[in-house]
């Protein structure tokens, strides 16, 4: 079932009427929700951005879905990166200032996993964007036409959940 949902997510993102750039931006932004621990203020702000800015929401959900297992797997790396940054003598002044500024502490930037995963996401956001944009463009150019003739694909896109979603968002194949 989960696999089917992921597949639907993938299909919707790749075939929505957003440009490859919008889909790629959605994937890049959505990755943050999967890579960093979810219940933090920065994710709330970025979720607001995902809604307000005209980027592909299916792309956001696709990026999120794909990044969740990656986030769990890379937690030890995030922890190491975050710990190194939080213990760096050169950055101590910055952390001390941020820690004593209103609202900022609610981002939990002072947790090693939160900071490490966020920094890794910042580093990866542009590569993810460009890779996703190229991938979506290639897909639409070469794969999509062949896929839409397949019965499985037609069945998938004809599911009730997908139809509801399509009617709400206005996206189409």
């Amino acid at each position: 079932m989960l696999f089917l949902k992921l597949l639907q997510q993938l299909v919707k993102a790749l075939n929505s009427d957003g440009t490859p750039g919008q889909v790629a931006a959605g994937v890049a932004l959505g990755a943050v929700f999967g890579l960093t621990p979810l219940m933090n203020l920065h994710n709330l702000v970025l979720f607001g951005c995902a809604l307000i800015f005209n980027l592909s929401l299916p792309g956001v959900f696709l990026g999120w879905t794909l990044a969740v297992p990656l986030g769990f797997a890379l937690d030890p790396l995030f922890d190491a990166v975050g710990t190194a940054l939080l213990q760096a003598p050169a950055l101590r002044g910055l952390w001390t200032t941020l820690y004593n500024v209103p609202v900022v502490p609610f981002t939990n930037f002072n947790n090693s996993v939160v900071l490490g995963s966020f920094v890794v996401w910042v580093v990866l956001v542009l590569p993810i964007f460009f890779l996703a944009r190229r991938g979506v463009a290639k897909y639409r150019e070469h794969v999509y036409e062949r896929l839409r003739k397949m019965r499985f694909f037609q069945a998938l896109t004809a599911s009730g959940w997908y139809s509801t979603y399509k009617s709400l968002t206005g996206w189409k194949l």
Partner: protein
């Protein structure tokens, strides 16, 4: 292409509304759960809270029905509060910090009974939040390890089995063996260094030069010959001086090492005294020292009163951060890895938790010494004292006693603002009804009636010093059990001892008991003294001193015989160092001095003893 998706504003607004709704509905519940979880982790026993109500815009938090279980008595609350009213700093809350400018406390009660046990499951209770042993179990371990003497007269009048004193259990033997080994090693190393610094070649060469010059002088050698001879003497003198400097340095070093060993050998006598005491315990000879007897009579009661003070001092230690360096703790529990959460305190900013001023009235229930109504005040309670920069102070004064003209004042200060924590607590109780104390022997119970209690505890870094002093001049004695059996009981029997103790103490009206702790906070030593101990000691001495002296003599002889060989060996090694390397060094120095004097004399002879003449 549009940058903004304006139609998403409504869903976003709805989302924000949902968040606000969630906050409104659940924030009080979250606060309650947070306080219960945090408090439970800090205390090591259940903390219950009936309700919490946060008024964010007014900056007020009201907690109702707070009950903190005593970790040592899970069916009792350490304290219970009907209502706590916090006046909060909203700006500090925005920094994720809890700063209460004032706190009003209503209905604070101590030692109240619980309807359900507040003990934690064994897994949770076994370890403290930091992963180390819990503070309570650490203090318990210490109190169980404190060795309190007992009055056991079972061995009197019987043959003493001195063979029970085993050589392996005597500390002096271990020390003496170590000293002998160190003496051996020192003799070897010093011997090698003395041999390496042997001045004999220099002495021989100088002696040969002196012999060669014989009675030569300026006339017999001529100017050139005298000049050469003087140069040879000067060169040899330089060599002699170098050799002497080396020997002097070696002698200083050797003397220091041998002196250190000498001091340790002298310390064997103190160790021997400890071994005598140990051996006496092994063969159950009762101590007639008033201090030992006082410790046997009142030690358990004193420990019972000292343990809570230590417990609170260590709890404060665990939860108060020192300095302003970043602190680390485990991150929040979640499906993802918890990681490490760092705190970056800053001087002159708010600490993570602070109660600037709290005041309230409270009651201590029951009819005990402390029962009554109190007024209390507390300032500067914070988790980061160095950031706040002021010590925590507290003061409690009884405003109304349950009965009698009683006065109680408790005051204290916990200064963890610097690198070295300094805590002090004093309590003065005057004219209070004191509890009765079981002596443990003599079937005697001491009713202290009305008296005074002084408690003082001072802690400076790792060193702690404390005193618990009880005085009463109206003591009553209660005896229970069979009193007739004592008269006919054999010497040393339990009944005989009961009778003796009762006769010794039952006429006493003035009693003073003092328990003190000193030493390191982790494992302080306990000392108990009392005039009751002196009275019982005198009675015992009169009754059994001859018997005790006889047995003590046997035990000392046994210990001396066991120690003789090892202590003798250690002393022998020391003597060997004195007569070996140290004596060699002194002899060598003497030879160098002699030969130097001869060379100086020859040099003067060459110049004819005329001052101011120097050969070219």
């Amino acid at each position: 292409m549009k940058i903004f998706r304006w139609k998403a504003v409504i869903p976003l607004g709805l989302f924000v509304l949902l968040v606000v709704l969630f906050w409104t509905l659940y924030v009080d519940r979250l606060i309650r759960l947070g306080i219960e979880a945090g408090g439970t982790a800090a205390v090591g026993a259940k903390v219950d809270l009936r309700s919490a109500r946060l008024h964010l815009f007014q900056g007020s938090l009201v907690l109702r029905g707070l009950a903190v279980t005593n970790p040592r008595e899970p069916m009792t609350n350490l304290f219970e509060v009907d209502e706590l009213n916090f006046d909060l700093s909203v700006r500090a809350l925005l920094e994720k910090k809890f700063v209460a400018e004032t706190v009003a406390v209503r209905g604070l009660r101590f030692n109240t009974a619980r309807t359900a046990s507040g003990a934690l499951p064994p897994k949770k209770a076994a370890t403290a939040p930091g992963g180390g042993p819990s503070v309570a179990s650490g203090v318990d371990d210490w109190s169980h390890k404190v060795k309190l003497p007992t009055i056991d007269l079972g061995g009197l009048g019987k043959a003493v089995n001195v063979a029970r004193v085993s050589p392996d259990s005597l500390h002096t033997i271990v020390l003496a063996r170590g000293l002998a080994a160190r003496g051996d090693s020192l003799q070897g190393s010093l011997g090698r260094r003395v041999a390496a610094a042997d001045p004999r070649p220099v002495v021989d060469s100088a002696g040969a030069l002196v012999a060669r010059l014989g009675n030569a002088n300026l006339r017999t050698l001529g100017i050139a010959g005298a000049r050469d001879a003087a140069n040879a003497i000067r060169t040899t003198l330089t060599a002699v001086k170098g050799a002497r400097d080396r020997l002097t340095s070696l002698q200083h070093d050797a003397t220091a090492q041998v002196d250190s060993l000498r001091q340790q050998v002298a310390a064997l006598d103190r160790a021997r005294a400890d071994d005598y005491a140990y051996a006496r315990r092994m063969v159950q000879i009762p101590s007639l020292d008033p201090k030992d007897i006082a410790a046997a009579l009142f030690g358990p009661a004193a420990l019972q009163r000292l343990v809570p003070t230590l417990l609170w001092t260590r709890l404060a230690d665990r939860h108060l951060a020192t300095g302003t360096a970043p602190q680390q703790k485990a991150g929040p529990k979640r499906a993802r890895m918890a990681g490490t959460t760092f705190a970056f305190p800053k001087l002159h900013r708010w600490p993570t938790f602070l109660v600037e001023f709290a005041e309230g009235s409270f009651d201590l229930g029951g009819r005990t010494t402390m029962a009554g109504a109190y007024l209390g005040r507390l300032t500067g309670a914070t988790t980061e004292p160095a950031v706040y920069g002021k010590p925590l102070t507290f003061l409690a004064r009884r405003s109304g006693a349950v009965a009698g003209p009683e006065s109680i004042a408790v005051a204290g200060s916990l200064d963890h603002t610097g690198a070295v924590p300094r805590d002090s607590v004093t309590a003065d109780l005057a004219g209070v009804r004191l509890p009765a104390v079981d002596l443990g022997i003599g079937n005697a119970r001491m009713d202290l009636r009305t008296g005074t209690v002084d408690v003082a505890l001072a802690r400076n870094g790792d060193a702690v010093r404390g005193r618990w002093l009880v005085r009463s001049d109206s003591v009553g004695w209660i005896r229970s059990g069979d009193t007739a059996a004592a008269a006919a009981a054999p010497l040393g029997s339990s009944a005989w001892l009961d009778g003796l103790v009762w006769r010794a103490v039952s006429s006493m009206r003035n009693v003073e008991v003092e328990a003190s702790i000193s030493g390191s906070l982790a494992s302080p030593s306990v000392d108990v003294s009392s005039n009751v101990g002196g009275q019982v000691a005198n009675a015992l001495r009169q009754a059994i001193s001859a018997e005790v002296s006889r047995v003590e003599g046997q035990v000392k002889a046994r210990v001396d015989s066991l120690l003789a060989q090892q202590v003798g060996a250690a002393r022998g090694k020391l003597a060997a160092l004195d007569t070996g390397p140290l004596k060699s060094l002194t002899d060598d120095q003497g030879q160098l001095n002699d030969v130097e004097a001869q060379l100086q004399q020859k040099l003067r002879g060459l110049t004819g003893g005329l001052p101011g003449i120097r050969l070219p």
